[in-house]
Symmetry: C3
Subunit: 309 residues, 3 copies
Amino acid sequence: MAGLKGKDILHGNQFTKKDIEAIMKVAAEFEKELKGKGALNLLKGKILATLFFEPSTRTRLSFEAAMQRLGGGVIGLGSLEGSSVAKGESLTDTARTVAQYADVIVLRHPRQGSAKEAADAVPIPVINAGDGAGQHPTQALLDIFTMRKELGTLKNLKVCLAGDLKYGRTVHALAEVLSLFGARLFFVSPAMLRMPEEITASLRGRGMEVTETEDLFQAASQCDLIYMTRIQKERFSDLGEYEKVKGSYVIDQEFLSRLKKEITIMHPLPRVDEIHPEVDGYAGAAYFRQMRNGIFIRMALLAMIFGKR
Amino acid sequence: MAGLKGKDILHGNQFTKKDIEAIMKVAAEFEKELKGKGALNLLKGKILATLFFEPSTRTRLSFEAAMQRLGGGVIGLGSLEGSSVAKGESLTDTARTVAQYADVIVLRHPRQGSAKEAADAVPIPVINAGDGAGQHPTQALLDIFTMRKELGTLKNLKVCLAGDLKYGRTVHALAEVLSLFGARLFFVSPAMLRMPEEITASLRGRGMEVTETEDLFQAASQCDLIYMTRIQKERFSDLGEYEKVKGSYVIDQEFLSRLKKEITIMHPLPRVDEIHPEVDGYAGAAYFRQMRNGIFIRMALLAMIFGKR
Amino acid sequence: MAGLKGKDILHGNQFTKKDIEAIMKVAAEFEKELKGKGALNLLKGKILATLFFEPSTRTRLSFEAAMQRLGGGVIGLGSLEGSSVAKGESLTDTARTVAQYADVIVLRHPRQGSAKEAADAVPIPVINAGDGAGQHPTQALLDIFTMRKELGTLKNLKVCLAGDLKYGRTVHALAEVLSLFGARLFFVSPAMLRMPEEITASLRGRGMEVTETEDLFQAASQCDLIYMTRIQKERFSDLGEYEKVKGSYVIDQEFLSRLKKEITIMHPLPRVDEIHPEVDGYAGAAYFRQMRNGIFIRMALLAMIFGKR
């Protein structure tokens, strides 16, 4: 995949199935190499700049760790108050400035389309780490990488996406990527948080089997994997409605024992109540391993962007 | 001391006298090596994560400098607003996530016991950099290392711990560590800020000589070293009481000239009024050298945790 | 220029014309070397500390990038809330502490004279990255480096400094530095934002030709280069006055086409309205290249301070 050299990473659907397989292959190689050597020098002398205009722990830190594990350096806007953004600078001017100092930019910004806007303004690659309700492509890649590792294959997968499917950019991109591998999808959410109609229609238009339901247990019973997401209280005007919904989307020991089969559980984190901590020791609880896979996927993307793989 | 490899550093009393001597030996070696070479590669490819849920300048920066001087990398939560903690994530979930990205965690948190809690949750070593009114073990180690360097020995030391002995986690851990070396201790504080009774009793129970007094000058006259701490205004309900107390715990030129002998002065910093800046040029003023020793002690601990010494 | 080894960089007028030429020579060398190798190891094992008590994007990030491109490490106070400054520590105590951990300090502080104060308190070099309305010497150096690169020479330059000449520390230092190279200067500003009389008088006293005017177009017609700065709304008590002034200091396509000649445009950034984004593609628009030159100048200064050039 020479095609990633010098490229932006903006949108989940910029990748073909073959691209994704190539990225996962490199990620798996880095995982092995790290165990052996610990330190790599592939990106020595390169600098990654993080521009995070919205809260983030795992995405920012995992990019910073990935860059440093490849031997590169990191600079970053620590907080917005301490930057020229506070002086009224436009996103494109900030991005153009940072592009003079760094070799790649990782951007998170609340406005949909902002990553594309920044990418068009600068001569260096931009990686979209979340643009509002838009995309978060590196998350989708690490998610599918985790699925393959946990289940051994991506063939004939039956996957349940559950929780807030309306506002979650993570599940939107993930559904698109899963469609490349022909997964059978179950969308589980309260009525008011259903997957946007255009996404469901587009998936079905491409011949995918998609089931929509409000019943997590019933869907889980038919699946290999539950991808759980957080339901946000602030989306509800009727708090009684929220409490009802919330209660029906909790994975705990009782839920798992009723299921009577092994199932893999993923979550982009942070979680609040939707996965009980008592589940953390369960063999199928993959959400912390999922975090770790973020390092390998981001190492792969960075190395490929710089033409080192 | 192979025993530190892969271990957490949580509490001052996890160390024996022999352990502390081994750590100080390694710290002294690093001090020498840094002068010679400047750059070390011992921890190349390793990543330290700082999780600071409370203000810190010197502890965080000295860990970051120590790690980099050993050739390692650093990632960190810059400010709480910009992290998933703002989304309601638990400490253990945050720690577990960061443990997927880094090789060691340095944690400061306002809740006593939080470092132990995080350490129990993650597979990598956790270093306690202050857990509320609890412990701050690396501070105690750098303090005793400084004492030995300044005074040439730890034998038959007479040490005056002064200021706020009730709330200061620094003096609690230090008193414990000094007890291993058989120091003669003077606790100097206003009545309302006395060393907690259980600590004093425990020290005396182990046969240590401990004198409690409110008179700094009288105690200092019998000591080799004053370890001064900041008295916090907000602890007092009666401000008149505060002003009286505050005035009696100030080290200045006049105080030193009345003493009629050389004495070593330490302070964990930041100071406010309790050591006058005119004292900074005094030969025995060791508090900035004390800061520097923090680098060597933390380099030693990091190297030993990774089994490199 | 062995003379920079171990020295502070505090004030634009600490440099002779020869010094500045030496610094620019080293900067140009680093620009070439970076293109070739990418990674340098000159400052391996050295640590730079950033202490920014005021907002900054480009100055802080470009110092951090410069240090890392030379192989060194960086530590920094991320935000003031998270530091001991919040506990009432004095600037000199903070600087002295940081000087125990790092090999060079880069300081931005709102108080004029603060950089000198910190430099006097610590044994390591301090670089002034802006002290209130005072100085910002590394900006002046990168500006003159940019002028020479853009125009091929610094001889017989005709330069227009425009915008807020009263409060802008950037233009004060730059005027001083330009005077060393015998430039012909045009000061363009509204009456209430004129260059301070003592600076204009001092320049004229040294035999420089200085023209003051409110008419940007007329001045630009006689110049090779416009150095534009931001006019801050908050300086005006009469907003009608602000709107009038603001409108007369805008560089856009229309302005450039009226000029009927090529002109170089610089700006320290961030800009607000004074340069229209439609100008960004103009060949003479040098302000983003100017940002990039900041890396090379700061690499040169750091290398020279450590005696590596």
